[in-house]
Symmetry: C2
C-alpha cells in the first residue's frame, strides 16, 4: 500500500487551483498568455503549492482536461447508444467523432493549450490513446475496413484543437455547421467500397 490520503489543506488547495484555472481558461483569449503565476494568484495560493500539486504546467492541464473529459468517457464506455458500446459501428463512429468535436468546441482554450505543449503532443497524453483505441475497435467492426488503426488516427486528426480553433474561431463557422461537416466527412468515409 503506497497510497496515503492527502492532507485536508492540500486537497482544498488542489481543488481551488483546478477551479481557478478552469475559470481563467474559459475567460482568456489565447492560452499561452495565461501564466502559472496568474493561476496561482487567482486561486489564492503560492506557486510552490501549484507545482507541488501538479508537477508542472502540463500536469495541471492534463488534470483539468481529464476532469472535463470524465463524463464523456463514461458515456462512451458504459452509456446508452449512440455513444455506448452497444451501438453498431457505422453509427457509433460518427457519434464518437461528434462527441469529441463538441468536447473540443466546449473546451477550446484548454484543448489548444494541451495540444501545443512540447513535441509530439497530444499523442503522449493518455486520453489520445484511449480515443484511438475506442475508435479503432469500432472501425474494425466495419466490414471491408482496412488499416483501422491508421484510419482512427486520421479521423481523430480532423478534430485537432488548432483546426477547430481556426474554423470555429478565426473563420467563424458555427457549431452546427461544423458538426455537419465532420459528420458528412465521416459518413463518406464509412460508406465507401
Amino acid at each position: 500500500m503506497t497510497e496515503r490520503k492527502p492532507r485536508k489543506d492540500a486537497a482544498r488547495n488542489r481543488q481551488a487551483v483546478l477551479e481557478a484555472a478552469d475559470a481563467l481558461f474559459g475567460r482568456c483569449e489565447s492560452p499561452e498568455e495565461l501564466t502559472m503565476a496568474d493561476i496561482a494568484a487567482a486561486a489564492g495560493v503560492g506557486k510552490g503549492t501549484l507545482f507541488r500539486a501538479f508537477g508542472d504546467r502540463t500536469g495541471l492541464l492534463r488534470a483539468l482536461y481529464e476532469a472535463r473529459l470524465e463524463p464523456v468517457r463514461e458515456a462512451v464506455e458504459t452509456g446508452p447508444p449512440p455513444l455506448g458500446p452497444a451501438t453498431p459501428p457505422r453509427e457509433r463512429v460518427p457519434a464518437l467523432l461528434d462527441a469529441l468535436l463538441c468536447f473540443k468546441l466546449d473546451n477550446r482554450r484548454l484543448a489548444l493549450a494541451l495540444e501545443e505543449t512540447g513535441s509530439s503532443s497530444p499523442y503522449q497524453a493518455g486520453h489520445y490513446d484511449w480515443w484511438h483505441g475506442v475508435l479503432r475497435s469500432a472501425l474494425e467492426e466495419v466490414p471491408g475496413m482496412a488499416d483501422a488503426g491508421f484510419a482512427a488516427h486520421a479521423l481523430l486528426a480532423a478534430t485537432r484543437a488548432d483546426l477547430v480553433e481556426r474554423l470555429a474561431g478565426r473563420e467563424g463557422v458555427e457549431r452546427e455547421r461544423l458538426r455537419a461537416q465532420l459528420a458528412g466527412y465521416a459518413a463518406r468515409f464509412l460508406t465507401a467500397r
Copy 2:
C-alpha cells in the same frame, strides 16, 4: 520602389544561417532543444545578425521550410502528372497527399518545430493555405464531393507533423508502409458514394 538590394555580407550571412540551421535540424533529436544562440554560433554569426535577418524564431523556421518546399511547390503548380495541374482529380488528390507526407518525412524535425510554434499554427503559415487551396480545388472536381473545403482540411490533418513523428518515429512504421496507409485512406475516401 521599396526594394533595395541587400549588402553583400548580409546576403552571405543569411545564407550561412540557413545552411547551419538546416544542418542542425537534421542532426538534433527534438527541435525545441535547438536554441537560437546555437544556430548563430554554428553559423559563425552573432545573435543580432540572425534576428535582423529573420525577425524571430518563427521567421527563420518559415524561411527554411519555404526553401525546402520550393521544389514540391513547383512540381505541383507546373509539373507533369501525377502532381501537376493536368492530372485528373481522383489521381491527383492521393498524389498531393503522398508528396506532402514524403515532405514531412524528409523534414520531420523542421516540420515539427514549425507546427508547434505559437497557437493555431500551422494554420497561419502561408504554405498551409496554399496546400489547402490546391487540394480543395482538386477535390471540388471529384463528382459528388460535398464540402471540399472541410475535406481538404481533414485530409491535410492526416499528415500533421506530430502524427507523422509518432508513427514513423515512436512506433517505427516504415516509410513505405505509412505511404501505403495514407494512400489507402485517401482512396477509400475518394471512391465513396
